[in-house]
Symmetry: C2
Subunit: 139 residues, 2 copies
């Protein structure tokens, strides 16, 4: 549990609780607001400002990764150590992680062709998950 010390962050209650939540929550992708509410449900009152600050520190420390699945808020997930991309259901919000080496490889090729030095990349595939596609009504 003490990856906080490893990255040079003082072990404080808010940081511990937030890290713990990200480790145990079954939806691994949470917004600051999600985290705020989830902590309230467990009687942990932590200011939203603190949550934002802590998440930003975690991101800088490499503990979490920030995503922008939609345009209205950031979501965070624990950095599992291996890169992966995402399939996102636009109806129910389901998130599926995947890795495809051919895609990764081709990205490197393309970057090389254009003289780009890749630092990062993200691939989001939006659509309807199996369940939402089946139960879909109308067009």
């Amino acid at each position: 549990m003490e990856e906080l010390k490893k990255v040079g962050l003082k072990t404080t209650l808010p940081r511990l609780k937030i890290l713990q939540l990200l480790e145990t929550n079954n939806q691994h992708h949470m917004s600051a607001e999600d985290i705020y509410k989830a902590l309230l449900d467990v009687e942990e009152v932590i200011g939203l400002a603190t949550i934002y600050r802590v998440l930003t520190q975690f991101e800088t420390a490499g503990l979490v990764i920030r995503h922008h699945f939609d345009d209205n808020s950031s979501v965070f997930e624990l950095n599992a150590g291996y890169h992966h991309d995402h399939l996102l259901c636009i109806k129910c919000g389901k998130v599926i992680e995947f890795v495809d080496n051919v895609i990764e490889e081709h990205q490197r090729t393309i970057a090389q062709q254009h003289g780009f030095e890749i630092t990062d990349h993200c691939l989001y595939i939006y659509g309807y998950c199996a369940k939402c596609y089946d139960t879909r009504v109308g067009s």
Copy 2:
């Protein structure tokens, strides 16, 4: 010039000017603010609220595509009719468009494997363009 009528939008000065700008500007990817300022430079004073409204209408009509290259603002580009992805220089802001059929193909395969019905997707590759990589100082 009258693609406006085609998509059922009344031909008004703001709409014309914005469309014209997107067609002729050499950086094809612009934020609402960019457009606002670029129009000011040409003595066209159009309210920012109108620019947002018009861009949203254009997006709905399929005339433009909205992107979220970074988390702090949306950028828009004319819909050239063919899908493409982007290489983005994190230093100078340069944008390079590319198409890779192998990547596109693999996305479909992955979606299929997970029972997903794709509606859209985006791939952003961030890094340093050739020029910025060369002239880079420090780590």
